[in-house]
Symmetry: C2
Subunit: 211 residues, 2 copies
């Protein structure tokens, strides 16, 4: 383009905006139909650009898929990293459940795409699981062990506890259609969100309270 170095900033912003638009559309479709199940043309249509134009921004479907996954990983580790010892143990866990359920409510597509990746054996994210995620999880497992040692928490296998926290919260994103068929409700409904949060917290915290 005619833009010289001085206008690179403006150009970059425009390019970035379009890339974001495409990634967003891609997230919608990839999370529903997977990599193979999504056609480039569908994404282009949803993002309101031409197929050719999309391929100008992302040279191949795989590259686009990768870009989407990297994007959601950023969001992914936030709640777990936030699980710290700034609060009393049971409150910290209670708070974590809220954060994670908010992720299910606010980023359901990201949650579902993550799930899809796991179902397939994490072909793309395996590296990140073994690196970043593993490290954070180990760290938090230590924290939980300390809490148990201090008698603030019932005896539990830390990993198992983490899996439980993940699963019960993530369920409302991944199985949203089932939840909706059976209850007629979504986490978007504030009352249903509160009821869900309260139920999970009640059972889990109740089960973790030391006797």
């Amino acid at each position: 383009m005619k833009a010289d170095e001085k206008s690179a900033g403006r150009r970059s912003r425009a390019v970035a905006a379009k890339r974001t638009l495409i990634v967003n559309a891609a997230l919608t479709l990839f999370s529903q139909f997977g990599l193979q199940g999504t056609r480039i043309e569908q994404i282009a249509e949803l993002a309101d650009v031409s197929k050719t134009n999309l391929l100008y921004y992302f040279p191949s479907k795989e590259k686009l898929y990768l870009a989407v996954l990297q994007d959601i990983l950023t969001v992914w580790l936030i709640p777990l990293r936030a699980l710290d010892n700034g609060l009393p143990p049971l409150e910290a866990i209670s708070h974590y459940i809220r954060l994670k359920l908010e992720v299910s409510r606010d980023y359901p597509r990201a949650s579902r795409l993550f799930c899809l990746e796991m179902l397939q054996g994490a072909p793309v994210l395996r590296g990140e699981l073994e690196g970043d995620l593993h490290q954070v999880v180990d760290e938090k497992a230590q924290l939980i062990r300390r809490w148990i040692g201090e008698g603030a928490l019932a005896e539990t296998e830390p990993y198992q506890l983490i899996f439980m926290l993940w699963s019960v919260t993530q369920h409302y994103a991944d199985f949203a259609s089932q939840v909706e068929v059976l209850t007629g409700k979504t986490l978007q409904d504030p009352e249903f969100f509160s009821e869900t949060l309260a139920s999970i917290q009640q059972v889990i915290i109740g089960g973790l309270r030391p006797r």
Copy 2:
């Protein structure tokens, strides 16, 4: 074929056996790559039949997919139907957790395909969810309500409890790759199975115990 009516039984059995073989291979691949992500040729290869021959038994990929899903649904409702009042409430739930975790261990592919179907908004199974599943779940929700009324269980929203039971057990099938990366273990490992079962039962049952 030359078989007359009298040998129809034998022929039927042979046909049924081959159909089973194909459905089994299809389950493996569909559960990993979904409907669109799986090629007929892959299934044929895994089932050790030719592509053309597979298409003789199942006229199209969609028909095969449907056959697979119908097969897994049979397995699906068994544990929930078995949740009854033959036992004291907390023991009944404890037993249900075991059954459901055994399903995750013994039918991981079916669990994952079910998950995949839900992720996509249940395009194929929606009807079954609204019919069969809805009915059984309503029935069990009533049962749980009765238990709560009798003071045998802490106050909880029955649907939320059912979702919790589903999610914590199903997680070990759907997110098996994540579990394996983080712990190095599978439910196939008897010790890990026991540890998992005990952890879930401890937390959930502890949280459900009336105060």
